[in-house]
Symmetry: C2
Amino acid sequence: MSQLHWEDFTPGRAFEHGPRRLPRDEMIAFAAEFDPQPMHLDEAAARETMLGGLAASGWYVCCILMRMCVDAFLGQSASMGAPGVDEVKLLRPVRPDDELMFRATVLETRASKSRPDMGLVRFEFVMSDMQGRQAVVLITSLMIGRRQKGDAA
Amino acid sequence: MSQLHWEDFTPGRAFEHGPRRLPRDEMIAFAAEFDPQPMHLDEAAARETMLGGLAASGWYVCCILMRMCVDAFLGQSASMGAPGVDEVKLLRPVRPDDELMFRATVLETRASKSRPDMGLVRFEFVMSDMQGRQAVVLITSLMIGRRQKGDAA
């Protein structure tokens, strides 16, 4: 795949990647470092919570999502970063050794107000389990280089 | 500090933690695993980008924020998780070995519609540098256990 630029991200275009398994040991090690709460660390303690058993930190699933995004298309794109994240919905708990699919769909695009060499692409990113149930939905805009400099919007 | 419950999170109450240094080697190792883009990995490549030099993945800063949140108050609270994240703003690049402060401020609270044993607390989380400049602002609602079960809202 040749490098993707802003012009290539037309609304409705989608990119998929996966499945990727989220190993129990990595899931727990991540939580121990970044989100050390009982429901992410300890099976017995987790059973006492509303999650009903050990569940991944939402941040771990977001980080795996980001890696799958880079592997799916962003690593072959003229990526210039992101101004933030619009929204993250954690819809279902992710369990040790679950396998997840990544899907990115272009929602809309717009030229940058200030930089003629880049545009913004608003995406919906979804992580789903192998039964097609959505676990995480994330909406964000990425800054992507333009193939041809244009007028600022 | 005795365990904090939903009733303790009154609007305006704030919790601070830090500073914490974000070491260059950890910042790069995180990016190599979860966000392998040139501006997060390689000093020379990063200088060619609009960031003007190596900068942390926004996800790394969010994960450090989460850890500082647990250390500041959430680890001593009746935390029941989160339904997602409302918004993340990445306002300034975070550089290798930068030191950041964490501050959480309660914006509003409400009882759960479905569960009399918990409530939601909407927070603003801010990561700032030692000059007081905001690097990341994150708005999210956390689910927190109630000390006394109430009527559902």
